[in-house]
Symmetry: C2
Subunit: 485 residues, 2 copies
């Protein structure tokens, strides 16, 4: 988007009318991002970076609690390393940005800016691992990656993005699979309990697998337009990368074996998911656990009576000390203008203090998740009760946003056995369409060609003897189909 167009976004269009226009406007007016003059790249502004910091803190604590450590691997990967795993390079080569000059020197070998780090991590693990005693290696990296893209959409599709990528090596296939599923559950837990995004989770079909993986698992959220958003992936790489990069170890039985590796990632795409899922016509609604600012305090100043400002400042200090993320907005603007600005930015709770509140030792607390005039949207509270009330209100908003998204997902999940209905639901972006499926690549390709939908996740079949709803061949699994971002 040009700078002129960006400045022209004065109003956020209704979310229901045009989700795509609403999304872009909400991201820009909420000051999460700015478009940059660099093709395909956005700037993550302080408020957007605040979201990322909360994601980092929450996920990082979960990684460490499950025994992982952080490390940092080089950004630039020589082409000769990248090409060692054949499927991997085939999958990523079209998306690679290449460094060919350093200073005034032409390089003899091109360097890829990492699109992902399996190649360099595998190379290093081969050096570090000698014996089964060196395993498992459980490492995560917070990093930027680059994938050459034509389109730009804040968080959802950008040339450079921020993510975390975990890379582990194990002595057995069972341990690698256990790790893959453990992380999938960390992602599910984070999505549901922090980002307030209910997800379906499970195995990807062969066609949707990570290039070079033995098996890919993912979590999938549903957006308001009925399209799925893959929000985190966890790959069991089997011995594919260990063979390509020569990660061998002497096992307890003294034989030399290839290690089993995994990789897994969540990117800032997750932020796009929570923005799109929770926002409303007034702008962002950020789940409290992800909110850079949990509550904004707004003094209402009448005729030079500054006591409301002092009351806000003193309450803010108390709340900060109690561990809340708060901000006082004492700018010289009309309160109504400020209310609407903080509504756009999705701050969960607004605390208003006017002259009468100062007299009465009260505040007015307003919830961003409810509409104006809705019961409980705006309430007067005794000053002394604010910390307790704020804690309860934030928890209630977190629950409420999750419940709304969960109700939406359930209302837009269709179990069907009719072929025509299945194709119709897929074509019209009705949501997650759950069928008995044959697991054949040809069938998935046919559905995609006819409807633009693909499998999102696949799970075991509970009944036997069913036919694939899409093609009539014997069913081997249940699958959610949906169009996707």
């Amino acid at each position: 988007m040009s700078e002129a167009l960006e400045r022209a976004v004065k109003e956020i269009p209704p979310k229901s009318a045009d989700l795509s226009a609403w999304y872009t406007a909400a991201c820009l007016k909420g000051e999460l991002v700015s478009y940059s003059p660099v093709r395909g790249c956005v700037v993550l502004r302080p408020y957007g970076f605040g979201l990322w910091e909360n994601l980092q803190r929450e996920l990082d604590a979960r990684f460490k609690a499950t025994g992982h450590e952080n490390a940092y691997f080089p950004l630039l990967i020589p082409e000769s390393l990248l090409v060692k795993e054949a499927e991997h390079v085939e999958g990523f080569a079209p998306e690679v940005a290449w460094v060919t000059q350093g200073g005034s020197e032409e390089l003899t070998e091109r360097l890829a800016i990492r699109p992902t780090s399996e190649a360099i991590v595998g190379t290093m693990y081969a050096q570090w691992v000698e014996s089964y005693r060196d395993l498992p290696i459980l490492i995560n990296q917070w990093a930027n990656v680059v994938r050459w893209e034509k389109a730009t959409r804040p968080f959802l599709r950008t040339m450079e993005f921020l993510w975390q990528e975990g890379h582990t090596a194990h002595a057995s296939a069972a341990q690698a699979r256990e790790e893959t599923l453990k992380i999938l559950d960390v992602y599910r837990d984070f999505a549901e309990n922090v980002a307030a995004l209910p997800v379906y989770f499970g195995k990807k079909s062969a066609g949707e697998r990570f290039p070079g993986a033995a098996e890919t698992f993912s979590i999938e959220a549903l957006m308001p337009d009925g399209k799925a958003l893959q929000s985190g992936t966890s790959h069991d790489l089997g011995q594919n990368f260990a063979r390509a990069y020569d990660i061998k170890f002497v096992d307890a039985d003294r034989t030399i074996k290839y290690a089993y590796t995994t990789s897994w990632g969540v990117s800032w795409r997750m932020l796009g998911g929570l923005i799109m899922a929770h926002g409303d016509d007034r702008g962002l609604r950020i789940p409290p656990k992800m909110a850079p600012i949990e509550a904004v305090l707004i003094p209402i100043v009448r005729s030079n009576d500054r006591r409301a400002v002092e009351a806000c400042t003193s309450l803010s200090a108390r709340l900060s000390d109690a561990g809340f993320r708060v901000r006082v907005d004492a700018r010289d603007e009309q309160p109504g203008w400020k209310y609407s600005e903080w509504d756009v930015r999705g701050v969960p709770v607004r605390i208003e203090i006017g002259p009468r509140d100062v007299e009465a030792q009260t505040v007015v607390m307003a919830r961003r998740d409810r509409d104006k005039g809705e019961p409980g949207q705006r309430e007067s509270i005794a000053l002394d009760d604010v910390p307790t009330a704020l804690r309860e209100t934030l928890a209630d908003i977190q629950r409420s946003l999750y419940a709304q998204a969960k109700a939406f997902l359930e209302a837009h999940t269709y179990v069907t056995t009719g072929r025509d209905e299945f194709f119709d639901l897929c074509r019209t972006r009705a949501g997650m369409v759950d069928i008995a499926w044959c697991e054949r690549a040809e069938c998935e390709a046919n559905v995609k060609a006819a409807t633009a939908a693909t499998t999102r996740v696949v799970r075991p079949l509970a009944e036997i003897g069913l036919a694939c709803v899409a093609c009539g061949e014997p069913a081997k699994a249940r699958a959610y189909f949906a169009q996707s971002y």
Copy 2:
């Protein structure tokens, strides 16, 4: 260093005999870094990344306490943006890695991997700033940068490195200068009170200034070989970058003005400084506040008596709950072998628990900062007293490492008025050589040609009428001269 050579580093050579060989061996054997197959790039291993995380946590808290927020700007900078500030591009062009291909596409304009971000940040600030009400902007970024280098030395000189770069914009020259000095003091405070590195701080000479800056300030530590290490820089950019990138605002008096900007950075080079300053012949000695592991607990197991392991595990849980960073080493190896391994890695305190300790409800606590046999190096302590004793011991080690480095700096700071002595001290890398100086670029160039030393920082002259010790012209300042990394 080749992989073969890396593996061949079996012993750490004495620090006093060959600082350079000691440094490389200590970084590798301490498992802080590995050399990578990517030219000029090292891998920061989990233990090394733990150091970086502590630096990040401590500095980030100080930035936020002084009103700064984090954000993220694109990695790739179009050449046309980079060239806008003439001195800046002249300074950095020889060090830039250029992306010229994306996927299969040849780019019409080269993209620089950021060597630093003034160009892209300035471009964005020009979009964000309209009125004096939008100022100041106080933003920091944690990021990777690339500067094309021939040599590789862990932390001190690598092609890619991690750093933080602050970028601020202000309405007046006085505010920009105040910011520059405020950050310089944050850096000094961090270096002295966290990294235990005493530093000299002040203005750089014109010849040592950041390309495009109006004034550069730095903190300078002294390494054991008598060379200085510039460990953090803070630049007052005046209006140079605001003019180049068109950062203008309407001031309160309704006139349009260019903003005043600053930038400032600390990189993982600071880690190299603390490794080199504090280590000894046995390996690393990490200041407790920076230590990824403050105390390692080692059970001494005799003939299948596992009670020592249980005692370590239970004490470790108690210490973790009390906020200490601890690890139990219950590997099936000889205690002496483990002691020496954790000595190499510089863990400040070792806690040993043997069968007799289990009976007596005691532990043995050993300090890494003292030599074997030195009074107080190894003491028996009642189990109940461990948390208190550990807290005191860590604080004492922190103080002691700082005091040793401070004594070294003071012993190797020479105030001289004799020209021959000055040149001798510079040539022989005696340390920081403090003279009255003329501030002339020609004089600095002459000293450099004759001795390899340059000015480190310059400060006001207290007396009048002095002559420059190096050249005899009228002195205008005092300056520390030293050879430097």
